[in-house]
Amino acid sequence: MSELIRPGYDFHKETHTEPMVINMGPSHPATHGTVRFFLTLDGEIIEQIEVEIGYLHRAFEKECENQFWNGVFPYTDRLDYTAAALNNVGYALAAEKLIGITVPERCQYLRVIAGELARLSGHYTNLGAAALELGALTAFIYFVEARELVWDLIESLCGARLTHNYVRIGGVTADLPEGFAEHAREVFRRNRELWDDFAKLLLKNRIFLDRMRATGGISRQDAIEWGFTGPCLRACGVPYDVRRAQPYLVYGQLDFDIPVGETGDNLDRFLVRLEEINQSIRILEQCLERIPPGPINVDNPEWRQPSKDDIHRDMESMIFHFKNTFEGQKIPAGEVYQAIEGANGELGFYLVSSGAGKPLKCRVRPPCFALTSAMPLMVKGAFLADLIPTFDMINLIGGECDR
């Protein structure tokens, strides 16, 4: 023992240690969405990390290339399954841009309503799960209730809770049910209470703050270089939101704020998402107030499956109903990229049509793919425990990242 206390002794330098390689995942409770980390640890410090994705690869593109244009919607639901309707909207907008049609105003409002409800569901899931994994089970339960209420709304709108399949090329499947606005106001009132409780439980909690603050940070330049978008980019102080930068649907007429962070650490990402919940509710309230009466589909049987009544009355509707069902819609040849603000960032659809009834290519730009690829940058040199909040705030959704 005497040599241990001799002057000039450096414990870290002279103690012989070896880095330890451990495997985390793919079925680790914290790696939701099945992802695998190969970690090289020096004590508790992460020296090297390799992220392995692909465990949820379901050949999204290959399946879409073998579907008619409208058959792609159920597959898009399963990309970011916590916010399914947003994927529907993105794909529909891309296909409509390729065709060159614009949907009626009521339909645009309906899509914004469905999309923002889906964003709420995505953010509730993400924030609740993040709290859970840092040990705050109570806070998680509060947001699960909020999410259930949002799902009730979505269910009354389209009949499904998780995979909505609500949007079609040229329209939506259903109009608002009776009493939707009152139901929604009741839900928003309750969800604001839950939000307050959630925020109070966590934002004065020393353990939670210590684990979130100054962990998993990334600089503004690095975030841009690595293709960050969405809440993670806004947490770095870049106010890029597709809804504001390149407005689609009726977002240009709606009043909402874009919360931005300063440091780009996990706490900022958390706070940005928390505030986005309020902004989404603001958007929804405006939509429910302003939504105009009118048709919810384009009045063109070639692009929107005609109603049963029309098929019996109208020759052209009957022809296109048959042709679209058996041959698919003949979207003119060309290519198009349409970006929307997904729950995680810029959700882009790149479609190529060769003029046939099926897409030649149906590519989705998954926002969390780019975010996950920068994981090594964010956690190298940090504690192993910091991996959990960082991975939570990246919000890897297996369905979207692996497709």
Binding site: K97, I99, G100, G227, N300, E316, G334, E335, E346
Partner: protein, 184 residues
């Protein structure tokens, strides 16, 4: 019944200001093959050998300032080469497609580089945008395009031992793969 179908307005300019600047910068370099602004998406098709030069120009030119590499993917035009007339002339079957965005200037550009099956190589742009890393691995995984100079070009969505590149048009949808078993 066809009143919803909007034709392209003839009064619209052939291309945007960004596109004008890009064409000006690329003029005389021989890199440009084709350009279009179909549906308002500015697109340039360039020689694959010039990809690094073009990407650096797009990023560093102060008037262009494309700072985010949004998306990188590949398209296989086997049997559908007629979609783009220039593909037949080059005997190209694949296209590597890049989508760039400028946060400051708020504009987008699509860059495409046609490749033939025999020469399925292109320079990696991980030196220009580090974030291209996984996107290039995915393109290699699913289409077999080899990105020269990529630091870690291996499969990403599929596993080591997968045979073929499944998003190629000549890969049958129902094709079976050999069992690889556990590797310990």
């Amino acid at each position: 019944m066809n009143q919803e179908r909007k034709e392209e307005t003839p009064a619209a300019p052939a291309h945007s200001l960004v596109m004008g600047r890009i064409l000006e910068r690329l003029a005389g370099s021989g890199a440009l093959i084709f350009s279009h602004s179909q549906k308002g998406d500015d697109t340039i098709v360039i020689q694959p050998e010039d990809i690094l030069d073009v990407m650096r120009t797009l990023r560093d030119d102060p008037q262009l300032g494309f700072d985010i590499m949004m998306d990188l993917t590949v398209a296989d035009y086997l049997g559908a080469e007629r979609v783009w007339p220039y593909l037949a002339g080059l005997k190209a079957r694949f296209e590597v497609i890049y989508h760039l965005y400028s946060i400051e200037k708020n504009h987008r550009i699509r860059v495409k580089a046609p490749l033939t099956l025999e020469n399925l190589y292109i320079d990696s742009i991980t030196g220009v945008w580090a974030g291209a890393d996984w996107f290039e691995r995915e393109a290699y995984d699913l289409y077999g395009v080899v990105f020269r100079g990529h630091p870690n070009l291996k499969r990403i969505l599929l596993y080591e031992g997968f045979e073929g590149h499944p998003l190629r048009k000549d890969y049958p949808k129902m094709k079976r793969q050999p069992l690889i078993g556990p590797r310990n």
